[in-house]
Structure formats: C-alpha cells, structure tokens
C-alpha cells in the first residue's frame, strides 16, 4: 500500500519537475499558460496523495456544485437534450414510431419544395412573424411611454393593458370570434352601418387572406401588455438627468425620444425583439383556436409550421419528415437570432 503510494508520488514528482523545466524553456506565452495549468493539476494530485485524500479539494468543490445542478440537468437531459439530439437524427430517417427505422439521407428535405402544405405553412409563419414582431414592439413601447407618465389611474390602465396576456386563451379567442363574427359581430356591424360596406362585401375575418391579419392583430393585442412591462422597467432605468440636460439644450419631445429614450432602451429593445421573434415562430395555439373552426384543422390560408409538424408526427406518424420540418424551423430561428446578436454587438462596439 505504502509502496504503491510512494511510487505514485515519485512518478508525479518527476512529471511535475519535467513540466517545470518545460515551462522555463517555453517562450510562447500561450503554450506556457497551458503547461502551467497542467502542472497545477499534477501538483494538486500530489497534495491529495500526500494527505491520503481520495479526491482533491477542487474535485470535491466541483462535485458539490454539480450535485446542485443535477436535479435540473437530469430532467433537462432526459426530457429535452436526448429528444432534441434524437430529432436531429430522425430528420434523416424514416420512422413511424413502431417499425424499423431506415436511413433516407436528405429525402425528407427534398420533399419540402413540392409540398403545398409545407410551403403554405412556411409562408404563413414568416408573414405572421413579419407582422407581429414590429407591431407588438411599437405598440408595447408606445404603451410603456404613455403609462410611464404620471397620469391619473395609471395602475389601472397598466393592469388593463396587461390583462390579455394573463387571460385564458380559450376565453379570449371565444370573445374575438364573436366580435369579428362575419355576420353578427359588432365590427362588421359598424362597417355595415357606419361605413356603408355592402353586406356581401363585409370582411370574413377568419378565412381567406384576412385570417393572417386577424391572427396578427390578436397576437399584438395579447402580447403587448407583457412587453410593455419590460419596456416600463427599461424606461425607469433611464436617468432623469439625461432628460434634464436635454431640456437645457432645448431638445423637444421628439428629439428627446430619438437621442435619449431610444438609444437608452437599446438593450431592452434587443431583448424584446429576440423574445418576440422566438415566440412568434412557434405560433400554434392562437392559430388553431382562432382559425381552426369546429375541428381545429387549419386550411392553407392559416396553417403554420408547428401545426404541420404536429400533423405529421401524430396524425400521419411520419416522424422523420416532421423532425425535418422542425429542423427547418430551428435553423430559421437560429439564423434570425444570430443576426440580431451580431447587430447588437456591432452597436455595442
């Protein structure tokens, strides 16, 4: 036992001495740093062996830290990481969940350009993102600026603006269905009575090309309260001195917004846009609830990518194709987010 220990210590010591020599001889500072790290770890092992400790203090420290992360990480790994890696692989396979998996290369991706429903879903999703993201951002910023002023019943109005975000989706879509009802809804009634739109030309808000407009309007209304809160926090972080200085220099309200508020809110805006983009790309529930009609099925005018992914996975059990579409969605979100990060970094510099 002791002999073994002595031998080990002997070996480690020579190794450490050898490294020390190398470090002295090394000219390149980067390589030198690496060697020093290596030597330190050997040194630690040496101390551990000398003190008869199985594991070094540093390892112990790391283990404690990992044990705190573990409960969360194990759940993440089992329910998220493994399925995601599996989905990456599945995109190149053909599998129905029961029979043997077969490798099909890029076949799943080759199918997409000729798939009417995929193309419709892709187009609708992109249009939806393009519509919802800027509108929600503008609406929430405007709301935040208005409700940041000391107006009467400010708390009440903030609550009102926030309400759609917390209200149950099923309930508010039911309300919207009635408000925009094609023949009995108040919106069309006003168009008919006040604006004299002929009865047969009244818009059908839940079908045809208008359905996307309705979806965007609904989403802006639902989400703006949440992002308003984030902007409010951002606004309150701007120092009042800046505005004071601006006033002294004779800046008007618009100039103050352009040269103080907007640049100061840059990181808030960045966060809002990234979150909004990600949220909008995964739109599903709103589309199904608003445009799904009785059976929750979406026609080509309202179908979105996540809906089509679900259809393929759990109605047709074409898990490969479904994963391939999920990859397309993933890559789209990744690219958009990367561009945003790049842009943010450029502004920072």
């Amino acid at each position: 036992m002791d002999e073994k220990k002595a031998a080990l210590m002997q070996r480690l010591e020579t190794e450490a001495a050898e490294l020390m020599r190398q470090i002295r001889a090394e000219a390149d500072i980067e390589k030198k740093k690496k060697l020093i790290v290596k030597r330190d770890s050997i040194q630690r092992k040496l101390t551990a062996t000398r003190n008869n400790r199985r594991i070094s203090r540093e390892t112990k420290r790391d283990l404690v830290a990992y044990s705190f992360i573990a409960p969360n990480f194990i759940g993440f790994a089992v329910f998220t990481l493994v399925p995601i890696v599996f989905a990456f692989l599945l995109a190149f396979m053909n599998w129905d969940g029961s029979n043997a998996i077969s490798f099909v290369g890029f076949d799943n991706f080759k199918r997409m350009p000729t798939d009417t429903f995929f193309l419709a879903a892709l187009k609708n999703t992109i249009l939806y993102v393009l519509g919802t993201v800027p509108l929600t951002m503008i609406a929430s910023l405007a709301l935040a600026i208005v409700l940041n002023q000391k107006i009467r019943a400010r708390g009440f109005f903030r609550t009102v603006a926030f309400f759609p975000y917390v209200a149950s989706l099923a309930a508010i879509t039911a309300v919207w269905s009635m408000i925009f009802h094609p023949s009995k809804g108040p919106v069309n009634y006003i168009l008919y009575k006040v604006f004299s739109v002929p009865q047969d030309q009244l818009p059908k808000w839940f079908s045809g090309s208008l359905v996307l407009v309705t979806l965007v309007l609904f989403s802006v209304w639902k989400y703006m309260g949440y992002y308003m809160v984030i902007y409010l926090a951002g606004l309150q972080g701007i120092s009042a001195e800046l505005y004071e200085a601006g006033s002294l220099d004779g800046a008007n309200t618009w100039q103050k917004f352009c040269y103080i508020t907007w640049p100061q809110l840059r990181s808030t805006t960045f966060f809002v846009v990234v979150m909004l983009t990600i949220n909008c790309f995964k739109v599903y529930d709103i589309a199904v609830m608003l445009a799904g009609g009785g059976d929750g099925k979406l026609s080509t005018s309202a179908t979105v990518l996540v809906y089509y992914i679900y259809q393929n996975a759990f109605n047709y059990w074409d898990l490969g194709y479904s994963s391939a579409i999920a990859m397309v969605l993933f890559v789209m979100v990744l690219i958009v987010t990367l561009i945003q990060f790049r842009y943010e970094k450029k502004l920072e510099a």
């Binding site: 998220t80 969940g97 029979n99 009995k184 009609g293 059976d295 026609s299 679900y310 047709y316 059990w317």
Partner: protein
C-alpha cells in the same frame, strides 16, 4: 464569440423544447369523422349493475382483460358490455382504461408503440386511427380467429370489406351509425308542406328545403342545416356506389357543393363561415326549433330522446320530430347512406389473445348487439329484431316512415380503409373548409383536392 454562439444555440434549443411541449397537449379533435363523443349522457340503463356480482367461485383460472375505451362516465354502454360479458363468463374480469375522447386514437397509438403497454383489447374509434395502428403492426389479424369461431361476416352488411387491409381484417365492428335526415314536423305542419319521404331524390330534398325556408326577421326558419364536417356535404357524392373518398378524383363532389352553396346564398341554410366562427353545434341548431331538416348520424337519435326526456331540449321547439332515409341521386336505389363504425381489436402485445378474441366476438355478436340496442345505440349487427328494440324505445317517433328509415340497404363508410387515409382525410377536410369559406371557387377547391391527393397516393 464562440461562447455567444453556444448560448444562442442553447436558447434556440430551449425554444424547440417549449415547442415540442406545446404540440402534445393541443391535439385537436377526432379525425373529422363523426365523433363517437356524441354519446348521450342519459342515465345508466337498466342492466348496468356493479361488477361485484361477478360469480368468481366457478373459475379455475382467473383472467383479467385490459380494455382501452374513452369517456367512461358519459357513455352508457361500456359498463353495460362489461357487466354483460362478466356475467356470462365466470372467472373473467374486464378492466377498462379510459384514454379520453379528444385524442383517443393518438394516445392509443402512442401507448401501443412502446413495449410497456399491456392492453388485450382496444376499441377502434375511427378508420384513420385504425390505419395507423395497422401500419404500426400493433394489432393482431383476426381472420384465423374468425374462421375458427365460424363467424358469419355477411351479417355486418359488407362494412367489414371496407376496413380490410391487404385482405386481412384487424377489427370487428360492434357499433354502427348511419346517416339519416332528421326533420321537425311542427315546421312542416306550420308551412303546410308534406313530410319528407324515405325515397326522396336530391332535387326533391332541395325543393323541400326551399319551400320551408322563411327569411323573415324574427321568425326566421332554415329549410335545412349542414354541420361543419365535410361528411355533411361532400359525402352525398359517394352514395351512388360508384365513387369513394379514396378515388383521387373528386369531380363528383361538385353538384353537392353547388347545391349547398346556392342554398347558403339564398338563406335556405345557415352559412358555413358563421357556423365555424361561433362553433354552433348541430344539436343546438336543431333543438332551437328553426331548422326544418338536418342530415346527421343515427347517434343523434338517442341524444334527442334523452335530452327531450330530461327537459334539456324544449319539447315545444323540437319535440315533434321524425327521421327519413338519406336522399338519393336520380337513378340510384334509395336507402344508401353513410356510416361510421366503432370496432374492437386484439392488441398484438397481448399474451392472452384467445381470451381477448372471445370478448371481441361476444361484444360484436348478437349478445353484445342486444346490450347496445338496449342502451339506445346502434350495434353493427343490425337485423329486424334490433331495429324493433330501437324503434320501441320510449320517445322514438311513432310514424311508419321513421321506423322504416332504420333499415339501410347500402352502407358506405365515411372513411373506408386505405393506406394513406389520414393524409387524404386531412386534405379533403382542408379544402372543404376553403370551399365552404369561399376562399376558393368550387372548381379550384376540387382541383386542389385532386392534385394533392394524387401526390399522396403516388408516394
């Protein structure tokens, strides 16, 4: 930069997770077909006793059969079937597992995909789901069992041939609903129009609907009503026996779309866009007393009877109702209609397949049929005796035509089996929606159905 890329990747991964998560829970509705969810909520019927009375003494071998079902509490016949079978088969316990109605077939497919499932008997709710289970190799082919038991399949009126897969049968139907025309006699009387007959043509039907419709505000009457399912409109087309929904060419839908859209334009029926925006249920439409005729499945008979008896529906509005057979095209024999079957299958993972098949045989056979009829539901095994039981139910219309409407000459399944039935089903649903919402013209909608289904069938 590298670290940043990693963090972006990670957050995107998180997104996909959320995304994957939201897919699972939001599964929507039954696959277009008529829902078996429509079961009446009527009180448990006479013979539904508790399983406690099971005579366990005689058995030398205890068998427990695990059976997958949905909506245990609001469907009157599951318990009745279990009790009936256990009473005649000592030593057998049937254990029901309720998987819920909304996405029953998806849940079942997921259950049977893994190796962890221990179901012996599974209920088959719709044909697209059946096709999925068969293609996943999770069901046991029943032909050899059927031959051994000497079951006469001709009693099922040919529906078994519509769910054969490469010549093999994987389910036996025990419940069979078919479509009829419900009508409100009070509206006909008020308008002084003769009741519909069991042999009306589509022209006569259209004429009748137009005669009864009254657009006067305040006392508006709709001549007829179409629920938002595609079956309610499109499938008039398959009744001639020459076409099926798996044809790949759907030009034969055209006359029926034209008829229904014209009726919408003339306010003969409610329009689709309104119905789908407000989610009006057909039962609410018919029980409102302003709909003269409604084409709907026979499951609505027991709902109507029960809801009128319980006072949920106002008898002064729809209490005086009758049924007639589906209209037919010129030159086609009357009595053809659409149907939907509910079947039982033996799970491939079961280790007691003979016992499981015995249960399937009993439920889909004459004894099971009697249990079904007593609860006011239509068994797959229809004969005069069964018709009598149903026509004799308290609350069933007493006129001769309504009784006669229960006999069906040809039954075409709303969705017969085909390999790609789920995909085709969705395509037809989608373009039905587009046509009825008038997003596209009838011609364009049908052309899209043709091209899209062709693509699927060519795969």
């Amino acid at each position: 930069m590298k670290r940043r890329l990693v963090s972006v990747m990670l957050s995107t991964v998180m997104l996909s997770t959320v995304l994957a998560g939201c897919g699972g829970n939001t599964a929507q509705g039954p696959v277009a077909e008529t829902p078996a969810v429509e079961e009446p909520t009527e009180a448990e019927t006479s013979d539904a006793g508790e399983s406690a009375e099971e005579p366990a003494a005689a058995a030398d071998e205890e068998i427990t059969l695990k059976w997958a079902i949905w909506d245990k509490d609001i469907t009157p016949y599951w318990q009745a079937i279990k009790d009936g079978y256990e009473a005649t088969h000592p030593g057998v316990t049937v254990e029901m597992t309720d998987l819920g109605a909304t996405d029953y077939m998806t849940v079942l497919a997921t259950e049977l995909s893994g190796s962890g499932s221990d179901f012996d008997v599974v209920t088959i709710k719709d044909v697209p789901g059946y096709a999925t289970l068969v293609s996943k190799n999770t069901l046991e082919p029943l032909d050899s069992y059927i031959a051994d038991a000497g079951i006469d399949l001709s009693l099922y009126g040919g529906v078994d041939s519509q769910v054969r897969v490469d010549g093999n049968l994987y389910e036996l139907p025990f419940r069979n609903d078919f479509w009829v025309v419900f009508y409100n006699k009070d509206i006909f009387d008020a308008a002084g129009v003769d009741y519909p007959t069991n042999d009306m043509t589509f022209e006569q039907y259209d004429e009748l609907a137009r005669k009864l419709a009254d657009p006067t505000f305040g006392s508006q009457v709709y001549g007829t009503h179409y629920h938002t399912w595609r079956s309610a409109v499109q499938l008039f087309g398959v009744l001639d026996g020459k076409h099926t929904v798996m044809d790949g060419n759907y030009d034969f839908f055209r006359p029926y779309y034209e008829m229904v859209l014209k009726q919408e334009d003339d306010s003969i029926c409610r329009n689709y866009a309104d119905l789908s925006a407000e989610g009006l249920h057909y039962s609410a439409a018919f029980s409102g007393g302003d709909v003269a005729m409604l084409n709907m499945g026979s499951w609505y008979i027991s709902t109507l009877i029960a809801s009128l008896a319980s006072g949920e529906y106002d008898t002064s509005l729809c209490g005086n109702w009758g049924i007639v057979k589906y209209p037919h095209a010129e030159g086609v024999e009357p009595g053809s209609t659409l149907g939907t079957i509910t079947g039982l299958a033996v799970a491939g993972v079961s280790d007691q397949k003979d016992a499981a098949f015995d249960f399937v045989e009993w439920v889909s056979g004459p004894e099971g049929a009697a249990v079904m009829a007593a609860t006011g539901n239509f068994p797959a095994l229809m004969n005069d005796e069964i018709s009598e039981i149903i026509a004799g139910l308290d609350g069933f219309p007493t006129d001769e035509a309504s009784r006669e409407a229960l006999s069906v000459s040809n039954l075409y399944l709303e969705v017969p089996y085909a390999e790609k039935v789920s995909e085709v089903n969705d395509i037809l649903d989608t373009y039905h929606k587009s046509i009825m919402n008038r997003e596209v013209s009838i011609d364009d909608g049908i052309a899209s159905m043709n091209t899209e289904v062709e693509k699927i069938l060519a795969q």
